[in-house]
């Protein structure tokens, strides 16, 4: 079985996000970018499937700006076998919308014929949480979202899903799209020899046009703003004072 893992280049989770002065989005010029953390978990799971003898090949794919090849190299250094870069934007600020990404991925699936797609449940930049689901709709494959456990046996997969209020276990038919959640695994860090090997692994470069997909945005961002800064707290001297303050604030 071949496993396809879509990975997205996003602003690094350690970076303090700054909104552009015109409110059109987040400033990404000269900012540290990394692989979307949920996608790292997907890559890790795919490699584990390969190590367990349940997958033969792990193919990482990224759709975005040319610099996404760094993200793909990270996936290759972790252990993916090869990578496909689909250049769909020139400006680092262009976010390809989930539907366009799903359409391109569908085209890649037609070409590559994987038995499983493992993707992150969402990207930490826009939190859309949509690509996996849209891809399942476009392909007509089964979907298991928010996976915190995954077990593949023959032509079905058992997926434990993290849902509000607990865990739900479902059994789905393969081929399938599985979107992964935080607790599925702990991704490995790349070793130096694997980083060196990754530089020599195949990385195909294509464009969105090669797949005939129009990536023009359908959504318009009206405004982006920073969260309100938290107001300084106040230390109260006694329970009575606390109760009085809470009443004053209308919280009691």
């Amino acid at each position: 079985m071949k496993v396809l893992v879509p990975v997205k280049r996003v602003i690094d989770y350690n970076v303090k996000v700054r909104v552009k002065s015109d409110g059109s989005g987040v400033d990404l010029a000269n900012v540290k970018m990394s692989m979307n953390p949920f996608d790292e978990i997907a890559v890790e799971e795919a490699i584990r499937l390969k190590e367990a003898g349940k997958a033969e090949e792990v193919v990482a794919v990224s759709i975005g700006v040319k610099q996404s090849q760094e993200t793909l190299r990270t996936a290759l250094a972790m252990g993916a076998d090869r990578a496909i870069l689909i250049v769909a934007a020139d400006d680092v600020h262009t976010d390809i919308e989930p539907l366009a990404v799903a359409k391109i991925l569908k085209a890649v699936i037609d070409e590559e014929a994987p038995g499983l797609v493992l993707c992150g449940k969402q990207a930490i930049d826009n939190d859309m949480n949509a690509t996996g689901q849209m891809l399942a709709a476009l392909t007509g494959w089964s979907q298991g979202t928010f996976a915190s456990e995954l077990d593949i046996e023959g032509d079905s997969a058992t997926v434990t899903r993290e849902v509000d209020g607990g865990l739900q276990t479902i059994k789905i038919k393969m081929p399938a799209i599985v979107s992964v959640d935080l607790r599925l695994n702990e991704p490995r860090y790349a070793s130096l020899p694997n980083i060196m090997k990754a530089k020599k692994k195949p990385l195909d470069e294509k464009t969105a046009a090669d797949y005939g997909v129009d990536t023009a945005p359908r959504l318009e961002i009206v405004k982006t703003s920073e969260p309100e800064t938290r107001k300084a707290g106040e230390i109260v001297g006694s329970v009575d004072e606390l109760v009085a303050k809470l009443k004053e604030a209308g919280a009691l």
Binding site: V31, Y189, L192, P193, M196
Partner: protein, 387 residues
């Protein structure tokens, strides 16, 4: 960790950071408190291939340059660790790779790459001659197919946690050479064997958790196949290690500098006194900004030194200047970090006092600030010699 744009070494940085993240502040604090060696950390670095970065691929390493090695060391210190526990293998490596024989390379390098052996020690400094290296008193006299070593070394680090040491000794008496830098030779010493046959070791308790020792040689026999390069040219060869050491330690200071500025920026932004963040005061901001500027500048010089080194060009001046700038910058950063943590800076649980002690070393070792100034004055600017 402060925002930093991606640079060309991002893959290395990310991977080293991810490894270091498994060894949090508490780990390094405990190691310091107990004055033990960070075995688990160095093992993890070895297993992930980082300690073999400089070993050519044909001998099982990754064939990277000093530039990448500097990035690795920087990231370790930036993550709160202390590369002092393991940088010896990085700065010694090219002495063996560049000047060792093919037989020595084949015999040693694959075992260093696999982690079976460690080459963490370099024996240069002596108690009576200090920085005046060419005057060193330790002798190695050829007898048959062996060299017999007598003398004494001091401040020789990581001997208890290394298998091999590169030793500098005089093979031709000073009175018989034309230039004082001639007649010195370097040897590969098997530490475990040597400790049974003529070398004794006395650990030196010190201000930082840096395993370092006095060594005494009483007729230690070294087989002639462990002479590196040609006899008498050891001073030239040892410079390969010394220039690498200065450049790497510059990178470590830069890593420390970022650690200090990251920590102090966070602290002064959150600490409220007189009803506002202390970081709002320019008296607090400016020393931090100044240190940061100096770290960034030192970084440029460090890169220049490592690029020259990797190109096989002379880099003594740049390596020295990088170490000077970086050690000064990290010290300024350390000082402001400690100062603006107020009393909390002295509490071990903030790690500031530990890093403060660790980075202070680098104004003295591996070469003191004064000696760099005199090197630049007399060897770069051609001012009259003072000694």
């Amino acid at each position: 960790m402060q925002d930093h744009e991606n640079d060309e070494f991002q893959d290395i940085r990310d991977a080293v950071r991810a490894l270091c993240a498994e060894f949090p502040d508490e780990y390094h604090r405990k190691i310091d408190e107990e004055r033990t060696y960070p075995e688990a950390f160095v093992d993890a670095l070895t297993r992930a291939g980082w300690m073999a970065a400089l070993i050519p691929e044909e001998y099982g390493g990754s064939g990277l340059g000093l530039t990448e090695a500097a990035v690795i060391m920087e990231e370790i210190n930036r993550a709160g660790g202390n590369s002092g526990a393991c940088h010896g293998q990085m700065y010694n490596m090219n002495t063996l790779v560049r000047h060792g024989s093919e037989e020595q390379r084949r015999r040693i390098l694959p075992r260093l790459a696999s982690g079976e052996l460690r080459l963490q020690s370099m024996g240069v400094t002596e108690p009576t001659t200090g920085t005046d290296t060419t005057q060193l008193k330790t002798t190695a006299v050829k007898k048959g197919d062996k060299y017999v070593v007598n003398g004494q070394k001091v401040w020789i680090s990581r001997v208890q946690h290394s298998d091999l040491m590169i030793l500098l000794a005089r093979t031709t008496p000073l009175s018989e050479v034309k230039k004082k830098s001639e007649g010195l030779s370097i040897f590969l010493v098997d530490i475990k064997e040597a400790l049974q046959s003529g070398m004794t070791m006395r650990p030196i308790p010190n201000m930082v958790n840096h395993e370092t020792n006095e060594l005494f040689f009483d007729n230690l026999e070294i087989p002639e196949e462990n002479l590196i390069g040609e006899e008498g040219k050891g001073f030239k060869y040892i410079l390969t290690g010394l220039n690498a050491e200065r450049t790497l330690i510059a990178a470590e200071c830069i890593g420390d500098g970022y650690w200090f500025t990251d920590r102090v920026v966070k602290y002064v932004s959150e600490r409220n006194v007189f009803g506002r963040a202390i970081g709002q005061n320019q008296g607090v901001q400016f020393p931090i900004a100044e240190a940061y500027i100096e770290i960034e500048a030192a970084n440029l010089m460090c890169r220049k030194a490592s690029r020259l080194y990797d190109a096989g060009q002379p880099c003594g001046a740049e390596a020295n200047m990088a170490k000077y700038l970086a050690a000064k910058a990290s010290w300024e950063a350390a000082n402001s970090c400690l100062q603006f943590h107020g009393g909390f800076g002295f509490a071990c649980e903030y790690d500031v006092e530990r890093k403060f002690r660790e980075t202070r070393l680098y104004q003295v070792a591996p070469i003191s600030t004064n000696l760099i100034l005199s090197y630049v004055a007399e060897h770069v600017l051609d001012l009259p010699r003072s000694f």
